[in-house]
């Protein structure tokens, strides 16, 4: 698995360049042309990224989620769902780096092979950060009316989170 993930990118680059040379594309000039488009792309996504990182980070700083979730504590102890996993489930659609940090904390406190460690791993692997991706992709092309995109994306996240709980219970419970 590890070797595969190490050679796949070099092979990919090799193949594209080889194919380009074979088809008599001026690969260097074409690369520069594309790279210039990339630079403009970065320019366009910078405000979006700053806006999202700012909002998500001060939200995390405020510890609001921890406070709000502590009310649910008695209910959770009753249902056997580990309390420490909840902030991760809630933050999954908002911030990938925040959930990664929580997962790491769970590994340190409970170990990666504990039930909660496996659950956290599955949660981290199962969905991407919907709100961030939406803001980034639509922001880059200046689409402001996202129509039904967010509800559908969040629905997919919710189903993924529920599925992660159920599947982990079945496999490792």
């Amino acid at each position: 698995m590890n070797i595969l993930s190490k050679i796949i990118i070099p092979l990919f680059v090799f193949f594209i360049i080889m194919y380009g040379v074979k088809k008599k594309v001026n690969v260097y000039d074409t690369f520069l042309e594309g790279a210039k488009e990339g630079l403009i792309m970065v320019f366009h996504i910078t405000p979006t990224i700053i806006a999202m990182v700012f909002a998500v980070n001060i939200f995390l700083d405020s510890k609001f989620l921890e406070g709000a979730l502590s009310f649910l504590k008695p209910l959770l102890e009753f249902s056997k769902i580990p309390l420490d996993i909840l902030p991760m489930a809630f933050l999954r659609p908002i911030s990938g780096s925040a959930t990664l940090a929580i997962m790491n904390g769970i590994f340190i406190n409970f170990g990666p092979d504990s039930f909660i460690g496996r659950l956290a791993s599955t949660l981290q692997g199962c969905t991407d950060t919907t709100i961030y991706v939406l803001a980034l992709y639509f922001g880059s092309i200046k689409v402001t009316k996202s129509r039904y995109a967010l509800p559908v994306g969040l629905f997919a996240d919710l189903m993924g989170i529920i599925a992660a709980f159920i599947v982990t219970f079945i496999f490792f419970g």
């Binding site: 594209i16 990339g38 700053i50 709100i131 129509r147 559908v152």
Partner: protein, 193 residues
């Protein structure tokens, strides 16, 4: 909608910290988080520039089109509004492939480029098209076959079997993506009527 979430996050954060006497943290945050944002941009920038350059070669040589045609049986069902050799399809296919392999940072430039191609034949530039939304749902579902970051972290934390979560992740991912795409499909069908 993003509008509301963005405002909500900030308003809740400031109000909650004021009530808790924790406002100093927020004060520092306001001053430093813009830097974190710029740092993230700087982290992504080299990869975006490099990949858009390399993928431009794939586009000019016709490789991207060939790749899109290869995945066409699946993609044409998901994106009925696009023509068979639409440029966006090649970028979408590359994006999905990179995501599946857990190469998230390589996937982003392809995704951005796909959106750009879709935007070219969007009649209302400020409004998302159906194809854009389907692509976004497919993307946020995160069709990850090999969650490389998670595996690496498990390994570093001393897991006896770091890869054992691959199968549970794939199952959860599949359920997430299928649910999202199904809901997207239902909404599209109802809008047509």
């Amino acid at each position: 909608m993003v509008n509301i979430i963005w405002a909500g996050l900030i308003i809740i954060a400031i109000l909650y910290s004021l009530l808790n006497g924790n406002i100093e943290v927020i004060n520092n945050g306001i001053l430093t988080h813009a830097t974190s944002g710029v740092n993230l941009v700087l982290e992504m920038m080299p990869l975006i520039i490099l990949w858009t350059g390399i993928m431009k070669i794939a586009e000019s040589s016709g490789l991207l089109k060939a790749f899109a045609r290869f995945l066409n049986p699946i993609l044409s069902k998901l994106f009925p509004s696009l023509t068979k050799d639409h440029k966006a399809l090649g970028y979408m296919a590359s994006n999905i492939a990179a995501n599946m392999l857990g190469l998230g940072s390589a996937a982003t430039p392809f995704g951005l480029k796909a959106m750009q191609e879709l935007q070219k034949d969007n009649p209302k530039k400020d409004t998302a098209t159906e194809a854009m939304i389907t692509f976004l749902v497919l993307n946020t579902g995160g069709v990850t076959l090999i969650p490389t970051t998670v595996i690496a972290l498990r390994m570093m934390s001393g897991s006896k079997n770091p890869t054992e979560i691959i199968i549970t992740s794939i199952l959860a991912t599949l359920i997430s993506s299928i649910s999202g795409l199904t809901l997207d499909y239902i909404i599209r069908r109802r809008k047509k009527k």
